[in-house]
Every structure is written in structure tokens, then in C-alpha cells.
């Protein structure tokens, strides 16, 4: 696999995304809304938690699990929107045939089409978490006399759980979009697949609490799902079927 070709596909898809204002606007509005909700929850948790002694920080963090969990939606949902757009546009533009006439392999095309949504999705998700960390620290500083974030659990949500969910979202979208006819249909079916997984992960986080064993099981389960989805995408992604089915 040649990474320069993968990079070209990613850059091209991102250029198309930049030119698609309606998709861009929806990509900005959605994370901003979730981030605002999360910050409001942190503000409420800090205001409500006035006692707790040495465990005050943990008490506040315990009340803000949902806030940071909300942000885990960002990366998988952006990957669904951007991923389906990138693939369906190849169909509607009928640009797949000239693309396959270039010397690219199936795996280069697959990874290009997967990384193009994954990179902005994760970047946006990470930025949202960092903003939450900074805002949370500013809000809680007077109460705690120190920073609220980043706790190990929030970092785990950001770096492990959201990344796995984004992988699942991206590769599910690649599989679904390569068989769908239009962007809306691809996004709706992808959401139907991805949202329950994200919701289950958030419920799992809430149930696991600080239990390291349960968190480990949750991580392994999500890891297995991600591995399975990536495997299916690789197995089903052949230029023959792509060209015949993507028209």
C-alpha cells in the first residue's frame, strides 16, 4: 500500500467537504451544541457540589460523567456524515471509473475513503474534549482550588472509547454507503447501526463507573466490534463489486 496515494484521496475528499457548505455547517452546529450542553452540565455539577472534602473533585467528576459521555457522540456521528458524503459523491459524480483507472489498489481506496472522515471526526471530537477540559477547569477552579480535568477517566473516554466508536462509525458507513443509492439513505442506515453502539457504550460507561474490570470488558467488546467491522469492510471492498455496484 502506498501512503501517498491514500493521502491524496483523503486530501481530495476533504477538499470536496470544504466546498460542501451545508455539510460543513451541520458538522459545526452538532459538536457546538453537544459541547455547550456538556459545559452547562459541568457548571451545574460544580454549583450543586459544595461539599465532599478531599473527594470533592471526584464527586464533581462523578456528576459530569454524562457531560463527557455526550462528547463521545461527536466523532462517530461526524464520521457517518462525512464518510457517507465522500462515498455517495463518487457515485453521483460518476467519478469512480476514472478513479479506478488510476493506479490505486483496493486497500488504498478503502483506507483513503475511511481516513477522510475519520481524521476530521476525531480531530473535532478531541478538540471538543479539550475545550470541555479547559472550560471545566475554569468553572471548577474557584471551588476546587485546582483543575477538574483531565482525569484519567475523561482521557480514557476521549482517547480510547471515542476512537473505537469513530472506527466503528467510519467502517460501518463505508460498508453501508457502498451499497446505498443516496446520501440521506446511507446516513440514515449508518445512524441506525452506529447510534445503538454509541448508546450502549455510554450506558456501559455509566454502569462500569470506576470498576477497572468492567471498563476493561467494555473496551475489549468495543475493540472486537471495531475489528469485526474493519475486517468486513476489507473483505467486501473489491474494485469489481465497487464499480458494478457503485454506479
Amino acid at each position: 500500500m502506498r501512503y501517498d496515494r491514500v493521502r491524496e484521496i483523503v486530501l481530495k475528499d476533504l477538499s470536496e467537504l470544504r466546498a460542501n457548505r451545508s455539510t460543513l455547517i451541520s458538522l459545526v452546529i452538532f459538536p457546538v451544541f453537544l459541547l455547550f450542553s456538556a459545559i452547562v452540565q459541568v457548571q451545574a455539577a460544580v454549583a450543586a457540589t459544595t461539599s465532599g472534602g478531599a473527594d470533592l473533585r471526584d464527586a464533581i467528576l462523578g456528576h459530569t460523567v454524562l457531560a463527557s459521555s455526550l462528547l463521545m457522540f461527536i466523532a462517530p456521528l461526524i464520521s457517518v456524515v462525512v464518510g457517507s458524503t465522500g462515498i455517495i459523491l463518487e457515485k453521483t459524480n460518476r467519478s469512480l471509473e476514472p478513479l479506478l483507472a488510476d493506479p490505486i489498489s483496493d486497500s488504498e481506496l478503502l483506507w483513503g475513503k475511511a481516513l477522510a472522515p475519520l481524521i476530521p471526526a476525531l480531530a473535532t471530537g478531541y478538540v471538543a474534549f479539550v475545550v470541555l477540559f479547559v472550560a471545566g477547569d475554569v468553572i471548577a477552579w474557584r471551588t476546587l482550588g485546582g483543575p477538574l480535568y483531565p482525569g484519567i477517566f475523561a482521557l480514557y473516554q476521549m482517547l480510547v472509547l471515542m476512537t473505537l466508536l469513530a472506527l466503528i462509525g467510519t467502517f460501518s458507513t463505508v460498508i453501508i454507503s457502498s451499497r446505498a443509492k443516496d446520501i440521506r439513505g446511507a446516513q440514515q442506515i449508518s445512524m441506525l447501526v452506529v447510534l445503538p453502539v454509541v448508546a450502549a457504550a455510554i450506558v456501559g460507561v455509566a454502569l462500569a463507573g470506576t470498576n477497572v474490570g468492567l471498563i476493561g470488558i467494555l473496551t475489549v467488546a468495543l475493540g472486537l466490534i471495531a475489528w469485526l467491522v474493519v475486517r468486513i469492510a476489507i473483505r467486501r471492498f473489491h474494485r469489481e463489486s465497487i464499480l458494478v455496484n457503485w454506479q
Binding site: 476514472p98 478513479l99 493506479p103
Partner: protein
């Protein structure tokens, strides 16, 4: 001339459907324009895709410069050797013409400098260099087709594979594209084109292959016409009448004669040798000849006859 493309027993089916192409055998020589003719659904686009290595054959094979198109280890050589113009230009409409070209150029491993120089040369040939930074969505159909041709030529392939390159273009744009193709052939590029426009195929191509799932005929346009139609000569008479048929039919070498006021039409095996005798007989019989001209058949006539014959043989249960 060496063969650039060789198809042997080339067959392709989609899923469990019938064969789209069945047992095609042909070779395409370096520097020739090779036209694929056939009705809708005859397998032209499938053949183009097979030659370009976009799909694999169900049976048989295609060699591009001696390399099987199914050989993924030589993907770069095959795709560098062939430039493809699909039936639909297939641009990224929200991007500029130059951004489209840069994307495909980079996938072929061209440097930004090479892409710039090639794009300038080729877009310039179509008077599109000044509009390179405009979004393709704002272009007319003809302009999009020209940009697609530039894209196919960008990496300087030795073979161009073009699916309906002139379809839907206005006469001026069509002429520009025709001239471009002739110029590319002059420079030694092999060109394979599928077309419904038989005039273009007649004018442009060195050889034509008529296909309808199977290969019906493969030859130069003139040889194909000559093979299907014996040569006829028309004689316009000032004082002609149906009786002139008797004069013509008395001559042993006249294969067939028809009279349609004011023209006598005779079919001959060897008109160059026998026509003076026909003229002499007509003059002797008192006819005044205004002029004599060979009856020409178009590639369209030959094509339609082949397709009709194929239809008739299929109805008779033939192959």
C-alpha cells in the same frame, strides 16, 4: 506494427446474467485508431472496461503491453500505459478543473511541476487553461468532456481508451476533439474508441470491430465496406428509359442492373476493367451519357447489414 493490446477469448458476465461479451479475439496495433461499434447493450462499454483493467474477464484475458490486466502486481504499469475516458466524464464537480487534474496526476505519481506543465499544454490545446481554477460544475458538457480527455492524457499514456468521446458534443467541440485524436495518433498514441457515430468511426479509425456480444467483423472501414458490398457504378442518362436494362443485362460481367430515372446502376466485379465496355454498349445503343460515378457505401450501410445479418442468423437459430 507491434500490438499494444491483445484480447484472447475475452468474455464477461455480470453476476449470473448472460454474457455481456463472449469470446472476443482481437489485437490493437501501436499508433492506430481502433473503433468499437455495436448497438446499445452490445458490450462496448464492458470491452472498454476490460481493456482498461477496470473489471476482470470471466474468461479469456487482455494483455496491455504483454501484461495481463488481472495482474495486480503490475497495476502501475497497466494504468500508466492506458488513459481512460469513461462514458460520463466523472469529475469532482465542486472542485476546479486543475484540482481534479492534480488529484489524478498525483495518483499516477507525477510531480506538481509535471502536472502543471502537462495541464498547461493539454488544457491550452482546448483553450481551457485560463479557466483551470473554475469549478467544473460551472462548465458546459463539451468543456467537461475536454477536461476528461486532458485527464486521460495527463500521464502521457501510450494508449487512450475512450468511451463515446464525441457523443453529445456540438459540432465545433466535436471537431476539436476529432482533431485532438488525430493529432494524438500522429504522435504515436494508440486510440481505442467506442462510438455510435459511424461517420466519426469511418473518418477517424484505421480499423473497426463490430460487436454484438460477439465479434461480428474486424477490418479497415474500406475493406469492411468492400467485403459486404460489391462495387456498383451509376450512369446518368439524358435520354434513358427502362429498356436500357436490356442493354446492360446482355453484358456477361454485369452482375445486377437497376433503372431509376434517370440513373442506370450496374454492379460489377471489376468496374475498372469492365466499365469502358458498358459505356461503349450504351453509346452504341443510342444513349447519351451525362456522367458516370461509383456508388459508395457508407460504414453505416456496412454496419447495419452486419447487425441485420446477425439478427437474422440469431432468429434462424444460428450462432
Amino acid at each position: 506494427m507491434t500490438d499494444v493490446i491483445t484480447a484472447t477469448g475475452l468474455s464477461r458476465a455480470y453476476g449470473r446474467g448472460p454474457l455481456a461479451v463472449d469470446g472476443l479475439d482481437f489485437s490493437i496495433r501501436r499508433g492506430e485508431i481502433f473503433a468499437l461499434l455495436g448497438p446499445n447493450g452490445a458490450g462496448k462499454t464492458t470491452t472498454i472496461r476490460l481493456i482498461a483493467g477496470l473489471i476482470d474477464p470471466t474468461a479469456g484475458r487482455v494483455l496491455v503491453n504483454g501484461i495481463p490486466t488481472t495482474d495486480r502486481s503490475h497495476l502501475q504499469q497497466i494504468h500508466d500505459a492506458v488513459g481512460v475516458l469513461p462514458e460520463v466524464p466523472g469529475h469532482y464537480e465542486s472542485l476546479s478543473a486543475y484540482r481534479n487534474l492534480r488529484f489524478h496526476g498525483r495518483l499516477h505519481g507525477l510531480s506538481d511541476g509535471q502536472i502543471h506543465d502537462r495541464a498547461r499544454e493539454l488544457l491550452g490545446a482546448f483553450d481551457l487553461w485560463e479557466r483551470r481554477d473554475e469549478r467544473v460544475a460551472t462548465f458546459s458538457k463539451g468543456m467537461k468532456q475536454k477536461v476528461a480527455l486532458v485527464r486521460a492524457m495527463l500521464h502521457a499514456p501510450s494508449c487512450l481508451v475512450l468511451d463515446e468521446p464525441i457523443s453529445g458534443l456540438d459540432p465545433q467541440a466535436a471537431k476539436t476533439v476529432r482533431d485532438f485524436l488525430i493529432e494524438q495518433r500522429r504522435r504515436g498514441t494508440t486510440i481505442v474508441l467506442s462510438t455510435h457515430n459511424l461517420d466519426d468511426a469511418d473518418r477517424l479509425s484505421d480499423r473497426v470491430a463490430v460487436i454484438q456480444t460477439r465479434l461480428l467483423a474486424l477490418d479497415t472501414p474500406s475493406a469492411l465496406k468492400g467485403r459486404l458490398f460489391q462495387r456498383s457504378v451509376a450512369v446518368r442518362l439524358q435520354n434513358g428509359n427502362p429498356a436500357v436494362l436490356e442493354v446492360a443485362r446482355r453484358l456477361p460481367f454485369v452482375l445486377h442492373a437497376t433503372w431509376e430515372e434517370p440513373r442506370l446502376q450496374v454492379r460489377l466485379d471489376h468496374p475498372d476493367e469492365d466499365m469502358p465496355t458498358v459505356i461503349e454498349a450504351l453509346v452504341r445503343a443510342g444513349y447519351r451519357i451525362q456522367y458516370v460515378e461509383p456508388v459508395s457505401h457508407s460504414l453505416e450501410d456496412a454496419y447495419l447489414r452486419l447487425i441485420q445479418e446477425r439478427g437474422a442468423s440469431a432468429t434462424d437459430g444460428g450462432p
